[in-house]
Amino acid sequence: MSLLDVQGLTIRYGDETVVDGVDLFIDRGESVGLVGESGSGKSQSALAILGLLPRQAIATGSIEFDGQQILGASDSVLNTLRARRIGIVFQDPMQALNPYLRIGTQLRQIPLTHGLCEKTEIDARVIDMLASVGLPDPERQFRAYPHELSGGMRQRVMLASALIAEPDLLIADEPTTALDVTVQAQILDLLEDMRDNTALLLITHDLGIVAGHCEHTIVLDRGRLVEQGPTTSVFAAPNHAHTKTLLAAAPRVDRGDVPEPVKGSTILSVGDAVVDYRDLQAVSKVSFSVKKGETVAVVGESGSGKSSLVRAMLGLIPMASGRVVYAGSHLEGPVESRAQAPRRDLQLIFQDPVSALNPQMRVQAIVGEPLLVHEPRLNAAARAERVTEILERVGLSQKFLRRFPHELSGGQAQRVAIARALILNPRVLVCDEAVAALDGSVREQVLNVLREVQADTGLSIIFISHDLAVVRSISHRVLVMYLGRLVEMADSQSLFAAPKHPYTRALLDSVPVPDPVAVQKRAPLRGEVPSPVNPPDGCVFHPRCPKADDRCASKAPALRDFNGVRVACHYPNA
């Protein structure tokens, strides 16, 4: 008998069916990956297994856990299963942990409620658990509040809370989506180490994570189960068209075409840029340039200063020192004080298109607005024509003109944001994590729009991203930043073939590859990105670097040139 036996699970909200007749089995000790894009019903299914669906949801079918029917079970029955038999880790540990309570106070409720041990031993048990998920100084973390911990440490706490009662099934709902890629690798490894004989239901949109961690794979599409089977066969020979689409849309960091370097004249350059915030330096003396028609990616984990760098370049935040040269002239001061021409030529799109679009304006007004500022003599008819034209270019038909932002999907909204940025025919487009919030297939469409516009108009793109697989497929050149410093700058072909900086190497190795047979050489980085308030002495990367020695701890390496590749490391890879 299966540990978990779900049959014909259907979940409805009013007239809307979010999960439609899903069957799912998990045996003891087995690891199952549940994959799907947003709205596929994967998280709803997980909540149903714990009986945690909101009141207005109507669930039918059957969910049996170890012979116990969960649908329709009373809270008192469910509460004997929750944590004790089925543990869960949620996506964002900042939201999932109570910010008002000390970590110990929250975690000790679990052994207390389930009577796992004597009352006098509860604190010791919690501290033991915190130690075993790799929290340094667990006695101190026991008394800490969640906001005092880093994202990775918070997720370790979450994992401790899910495993402290030694459940038979662990559900992990997008457990690493909110984390940096090097920390993601650590948490996934920890998950493997800790779970032992606990069965795992791993819910994710990332095929790479499933490929590396699950024996069995289930694919959901708009509430329906479209494919299931052993992970190796699902990846090697997918049956359903949707699985094929998902696999095709999943970019790989380890293979695939990398754009050729661009030859041409420099259009924009930034020299020795420094950005200071109150008690920290976000960007330390970074220089780079962009050629006409070139896509330059800026990559790095949170706190690397990649967004601060481009925002200071655009004049959106103050640049403490350094220079920005666009088309031969210096750009200085805040964006409001700059001349109209460079403001028109440099455009920016953001990560979250929905909050970047005014909810009270229709698409037509949103996209046409820049024209009112920069081409005020245009009459309404000419303006409307330009709007229609640019919407067509990003693949949106006229029927979108009268829509409001909330009537658009994420991908459509991002295309509207791109249209608004492109309507002035800019020379440089800055994309700040512009595709990070989009599902795989939609992300491909948006990237294709950018590629086409670039091919047609010679647009230069500065592409800020944490996702190296996407970067590989779109950028000609890559800047790697760590703690506000530029550590490596190379054309994409050399960087992805042979990264010179150990940090770049580690970043590439940490990205999960959507291929269960590809042998991943994994050497997860130790620790997490240190606080930029107190950057380490010497090379800022040395505390986490596998190659570091005394020299790295004492002397910061200068950026040196190796056949066109610039690296800041005492011991670069060959």
Partner: protein, 307 residues
Amino acid sequence: MLRYTVLRILGAIPTLLLVIALAFLMVHAAPGGPFDDERALPADVEANIAAAYHLDEPLPQQFLRYMSGLLQGDLGPSYRYRDYTVGELIGTAFPYSLKLGAMAMALALLLGVSAGTVAALRQGTALDKVVMGFSMTGISIPVFVIAPVLVLFLAVKLQWLPAGWSSATGMSRYLLPVITLALPQIAYIARLTRASMIDVLGRDFIRTAHAQGLGTATVVRVHALKPAMLPVLSYMGPAIAAILTGSVVVEEIFGIPGLGQFFVRGALNRDYTLVLGIVVFYASLIVLLNLLVDILYGAIDPRVRYR
């Protein structure tokens, strides 16, 4: 933390000065004086009294004289209660007002928070609607209407409780005034609690707590109550002010010899020093209690940092 408290207390000084100056101007701007009576006094007597109380001096000089006394902790003599200083009057009257206000506030918090929490947990049910209906009524009816209605039913018709202060002894005589004073606050706190509890119960960390198998009572007590109390705590400042002003009316209606009664009499009699004394005392009290609320806020929400 200590630095923050000291800074906050120092920051209150300009506020207090402004309040005192305004109150000083307003009592003096009102027509009439403390010694005007139906029977006019002889001119020389009036001049003597004015000189004795320095009322013949120009206003700015009177203000400086008052302020210098205040700095030495002297609120001055009462003009009407001739044998008492204002300090002594406050000392005898305040314990009644304090008891009344504290009990009303305690009752309001206890009933308001409980009713709001229950309504939030039973959101949309008949119980929720009854609680919210009562609370809307409580907010809408002013104290001077509630008081006579309560007296009419509970004291006159049913004879359960004493109607006035002088007709009873002990704690029972506090009951009606406390209920009257607390009722609008119970209603408002219930609404606040319900709204913020519903918000908190919808947060992700509450789902986590349920996922850990904690019962609803534990989830509310351990996880939800603290954050849900933040808006209620923010309201404590205005609530304290509302209870203080409410007590002026309630003390007058029920005949309680508290500060409110002295305040009303003082204002009617142009007893400048008495009115000013009570204003200074209440203003300081409100500033102090608000500071306490802010400190408590930091204790509940660890992410609030004092700078």
